[in-house]
Symmetry: C2
Subunit: 313 residues, 2 copies
Amino acid sequence: MRMVKVLLLVKPKNEELQQLQKEFQGVTFSTDLQAARDAEVILGWNSKLSQTILENKKLRWIQAKSAGVDYFPLKELKNRGIILTTASGIHSRYIAETVGAYILIENRGLRPIIKNPGKWIEPQVLETTEQTVFIFGTGHIGTEIARYCKFFGMKVIGVNRHGADKKLMDIFDEVITMNQFKEQSNEVKADYVINILPGTAATRHFFDKERLKKFTPDYTFINVGRGSSVVTADLQKLLADHYLRSAYLDVFEKEPLPVSSSLWHSQEVVGTPHISGLIPHFNAALYPLFSENLRHYFAEEPLHNTIDYGKEY
Amino acid sequence: MRMVKVLLLVKPKNEELQQLQKEFQGVTFSTDLQAARDAEVILGWNSKLSQTILENKKLRWIQAKSAGVDYFPLKELKNRGIILTTASGIHSRYIAETVGAYILIENRGLRPIIKNPGKWIEPQVLETTEQTVFIFGTGHIGTEIARYCKFFGMKVIGVNRHGADKKLMDIFDEVITMNQFKEQSNEVKADYVINILPGTAATRHFFDKERLKKFTPDYTFINVGRGSSVVTADLQKLLADHYLRSAYLDVFEKEPLPVSSSLWHSQEVVGTPHISGLIPHFNAALYPLFSENLRHYFAEEPLHNTIDYGKEY
């Protein structure tokens, strides 16, 4: 094994560090930020070290701790020929649980109750088994959300770039391409529209007034992808007009969302502070994935979850 | 078919009334409250008519629209020999969805977020697949809640009067009797304790300080049964002492819960106004069950969901 320095920007527990040192003998694992200058591999990211990292001539691979990579200097990393891998997969069930919470809150009439504690009201409840959900994005996260929605008894339609394949059809009722969606007339019946698209140039402001109005009125919009894929002002207008029934937003164009924003306080919106993918035992989820990729790295085999700089995910 | 008058205290839709009239020819279906005096069968209840109904010598059977029957004059009905049947079963999935919402709200850290909109915080999240849930009551509702908890990846233990049977063991990981629970030492590990016990003399104040402390600290108590089975002051004390992590309460000793109650406003409690079993299309759920029982009634066969006045459910 070559002499290699690895910078760990996700602090390992003692046993995790010992495990790495035992398996990858001769490799130096450091949590010292100075190692940003000469590490060959970095786990995690620190935007304050961005310049140092980009000037590090030894750097060959960064393992992100997130599924999304929109906060990385992708152009510069691409130009430097640095491999970037994501932690895609480890957040999926947690995001699906969060989306499950949103759907059950809405269907059981809990939104007006949690917005107005103390009022003894009989809210409108919705029949889950009559509902259709559109999920934009059918990767690990979209598939896991689909699994929850199917358990709840909903009809689930996926929207992605490449369309249906056998594996997706085991879970989804239907999968259409983004182009098919764009070409559809303005009469798509949906009860929920869930966005988990990555934040890329291609998805920027994808959900504008026109796209949001492709669905028939009275649906609920859920965003656990990126705020950048929504034209927030258009969304707010459609909520104010009651074209949309409600929105559950975990991500925003500007984060943190200012405390004064109506997205926190409107009766129609449940806002949450970018928490949908929080993992209870984060290291225990991340380090096995990193170790597995380290094994591949030293064996010069392809890494899991390598991003395509052309697609930005 | 005998000449029989049926009072419908749950207003039927036109097609529902026509369906009944077509199937049960010769039977008079009335929504006129005057019929409380001489109807042989009553669907639903109206506490203002209680005296009139109890004086009605022709009355033989009441079909409740609810699963619980604690609001009926059980002693008087028993003395009169009147059959009382419940709508047990039709609310089950809806209550399970509500409980599912509570669990996912808690595990995804949404409670402090919905209690404090505008704060950009990173809440504690919990690992659902490591959790154990105790469900008090293993009938239709308990079994359906268990099915949701199993899907979420939880270990599910039922508590009932008769213990395990083959059907329950298809869903529950374990079933113990109430007596076994009472005799257990104070070291039962639970993450969630869910009460769906009916409101009877036997369950009155079942969850007092001693019983609530049989479980190790830091669990969440969910009540979708009846408020009468909990000593509210004990529950509040254990919440204030942080012995309990949190509580999700849909039922209360006194309903409606006063607007000033801390059970609405405490950071540790999510209160909801007795909505866990609301059914989106109520008549469509109730009338088929009533028709089926009417068929049995005229055929002099046993009715579904007949209550045992000794057990009060």
